[in-house]
Symmetry: C2
Subunit: 511 residues, 2 copies
């Protein structure tokens, strides 16, 4: 993608700079030969094509190619010029603005409509013209705009449109390839959806929130037992230590996860209340008087959304190491969490017991050298497959096409190392297909970089393993039904008797 | 509080009603003797003092006292009059409005300023005049306003100002009275705050969210062990069954809890995203370009707050029975939940390990006849005290002054039964005082009524027991310190060795 830049800008001097014209002329001549072409190939780079001084305004017109972008050239000139004016004339520089700035983009092969859409509500962009190329015309840019790299990010955005989904770039083995599978296939016990039967039997009851259930004693017993087996067989056997991770995650942490830019539409957002007793007094009064909840008053009483409900469960692990210098002798560090629900907003896709918005998961997460992380991931995968066999599931492991940490992200030039296979996805048979029940993920330096995790010598990687307990229970019921006597020994031995369902005169409903 | 009502209103007829004047006159004369004084003492009640018919408007002026409020009288007239007009004249009634409505309140002893403040932003109220009494002048009220009892609720609000905190009305034993205490007092092991030491030793690390921590392996091990002991000794021993309760609670459920009117300023509120890909595309672009999270765009993409993070943990239990007819032969039903974090927004009060916004709790909840609930509560309390002794805590149990379900509520006339002691609060010694570590609550019919739980014969009550595990761990460390060898046998026997702290080169910081 070829780019041409054309900038007209002003440096604001603290006094009349006309007396310095000769020195400025010499400075610009030198800069055109040196400062503004530094790092660019022969005959490329940026150039001041015109300039003049009028009282305290120093106006510059700069043209450039992609090797030294005009706004970078403009910024490059500022400090050295300030030094000259200060030393010889006691004149300071007080700021800069780009009054006019246009970028021409070679659009061969680009989707012009999409780019226009993309930029339609970016406030820095004034308009877009299409001629031989695509011309982006900017509004006046402040020093802050220039220094915060807004322009570069806009260019990156346009370039991003040409790119592939990151996961297809990263994976050396084609997503969907089956790597392992169970030795023999058993018939599924249920020939209907486990959800319906679970409701009929009173193992679960629908909760008013979308994709949420109240899980009743027989379900809870099975859940707890499967969880215990999984904990013993995977993290405890492999030397992971239990931790309790927060489940309410500040947006800034999600930004470092790059999840906020990957899947913002898939999370629940959380606002704390303001410290404003008057609003809440009013809220209480209105609530007392009216039948409906006075939602506008409530909104007045809330701060901006500041958190999400944890979607990935391992967020606090990377945050724990953020800006820390790891101690190589302590590696690998391996922990697991089973301390509560995590959440995804599934929108219309929530259904049944296996696609829920609120779910339990056993999460393992680790950090170490590249070798340690690869080895730990493989150990986890092996132990995982052993537990799948203990549960007598029909299972297979494939190369995942949606590692959670790459979801929604596009290919980019950041210097991140990815493993050959970022995600091993574990799937089990379900009525007429299969469902994902967990995964083993190797993140390379994705989170190490995002969270600025430092290491004194060798590169460190991270990895995580998720075991979707809510889905395991659903899959278990589909495979083995609701009768304790039909269940595999590893579970049956631990449950002597299933607890009673708390019935009412009208529930559970017979169908 | 004496009240006088004066209403001028109109019934809208579907045609000219002047031909029915004689029948209307007779109807009103009768109503003044019967319909409008029904239920009131001799010479009290409501009276139509003037009326006239003009084309399709039937205007009525009604005065009344508190025995039959004028707006109720107005509504009482509507249906019988409609019948007369329909039968004899084929004229329908199409609606009603109260054009002018004033209520005079005897203000002796009332805090007039407070009442004015209270009503200052109630939209139904036009103005408030103070003369001999307090006069509330309403805006025009629609049929919906009249039928939704807005006026009654406003009166209730004024009356509420004269009332005591509900808990002081309910408790037959003075809150603060100590009912039980430990037999002997041991010295606390720590002479400093457990939080500081826990940070120094790397048992916990501060998380960026207010009042949140990441709990590391030695803490998690102690937590898990205390939880296991408590679960075995209380709910499992007493025949409770485990359930998994949702932790994301719809506002409507909180309203039925009466928690939304009690403590709305103490919760986190949750919004799901809208189904609007365009907004989230824009959000992603802005996030890619800018350094800050584009929070206004995010807010555009969110629905109204629809949930809170569970503050009480037992909410789904009452919801489970809501509008169900309980089966008396199944009672008592006793369940417990330990499936995740619950939340309170402590605002500025969050501090250390014991006053946190995100905490773990073992919650037991039950429903039964009055006797069953009282007995279950006492059994729980006994088992609770046994566990406090096993933990070798310095503890006492007092009559609580803030049962969560009465918090912020005022005395009222609703027909709710409360027990003599609604809350037994369990407190243990802490550095220079005591902290609450849990409670046993009997709710009477508070939730039975709020959630419309039906019973075929005898009255049912509910109760719940909370065991604040996060606070138990903090109290445990204050009592017994950080050395496994100093811990009470019930814990020491289950923990052979404490797991390692995951250290970095710079953390935990030495002080």
């Amino acid at each position: 993608m070829e780019l041409n830049f054309h900038l007209k800008g002003i440096f604001n001097a603290s006094g009349n700079a006309e007396k310095a014209i000769d020195d400025i002329a010499r400075f610009i001549e030198d800069a055109n030969q040196g400062l503004l072409v530094r790092g660019a190939p022969e005959d490329r780079g940026a150039k001041v094509v015109d300039w003049h001084v009028s009282n305290d305004d120093i106006s510059l017109e700069i043209r450039s190619d992609r090797y030294v972008r005009a706004h970078d050239a403009f910024i490059r000139l500022y400090n050295p010029l300030r030094e000259i004016l200060g030393k010889s004339y006691h004149i300071g520089l007080r700021g800069m603005q780009a009054k006019d700035y246009e970028i021409e983009v070679d659009i061969e092969g680009a989707d012009v409509k999409k780019i226009k859409d993309l930029l339609s509500d970016v406030p820095e962009v004034k308009k877009i013209e299409i001629g031989e190329g695509l011309k982006i015309i900017f509004n006046e840019l402040s020093e802050g705009d220039l220094r915060s790299h807004s322009v570069d990010k806009i260019i990156k955005l346009i370039q991003g449109e040409e790119k592939e989904e990151l996961v297809y770039v990263v994976s050396k083995v084609k997503p969907g390839t089956v790597l392992y599978e169970c030795k023999s296939r058993k018939n599924l016990s249920l020939d209907q959806d486990a959800t319906e039967l679970a409701e009929e039997l009173g193992w679960v009851k629908r909760f008013p929130g979308k994709g949420q259930w109240t899980y009743l004693p027989p379900y809870a017993k099975l859940f707890r037992t499967i969880a215990d087996v999984a904990v013993e067989e995977i993290p405890e056997r492999l030397g992971f230590s239990e931790v309790l991770f927060p489940k309410l995650i500040p947006l800034e942490v999600m930004k470092k996860m790059r999840y906020l830019e990957g899947l913002p539409e898939g999370m629940y957002y959380v606002s704390p209340p303001k410290r404003d007793p008057k609003i809440f007094e009013r809220f209480k009064r209105e609530l007392a008087i009216r039948r409906d909840i006075p939602i506008d008053t409530l909104k007045e009483g809330l701060k901006d959304p500041a958190y999400v409900l944890a979607p990935a469960q391992c967020e606090p692990f990377y945050q724990f190491f953020s800006h820390e210098m790891v101690d190589m002798t302590e590696l690998p560090i391996k922990v697991f969490d089973r301390s509560g629900f995590t959440y995804r907003w599934e929108g219309g896709a929530a259904k049944g017991l296996d696609r829920v918005n609120e779910f339990q998961r056993l999460e393992m997460v680790f950090i170490g050298t590249i070798e340690e992380v690869k080895e730990t991931a493989q150990e986890c995968l092996n132990a995982y497959m052993r537990v799948l066999d203990l549960m007598e599931f029909n299972w297979y492991v494939e190369v995942g096409d949606d590692p959670f940490y790459l979801e929604g992200l596009k290919e980019e030039k950041r210097d991140i190392e990815y493993p050959d296979i970022p995600k091993y996805e574990v799937r089990v048979e379900s009525k007429g297909g299969s469902i994902s029940v967990g995964s083993v993920n190797i993140h390379g330096t994705h989170f190490v970089q995002g969270f600025s995790i430092q290491s004194p010598s060798r590169t460190v990687w991270t990895g995580c393993v998720g075991l979707g307990l809510s889905r395991w229970v659903a899959a278990f019921l589909t495979h083995h039904g609701f009768n304790l006597k039909d269940w595999p020994p590893v579970i049956k031995e631990r449950i002597k008797e299933l607890p009673k369902v708390p019935k009412t005169l009208e529930w559970p409903k017979k169908r």
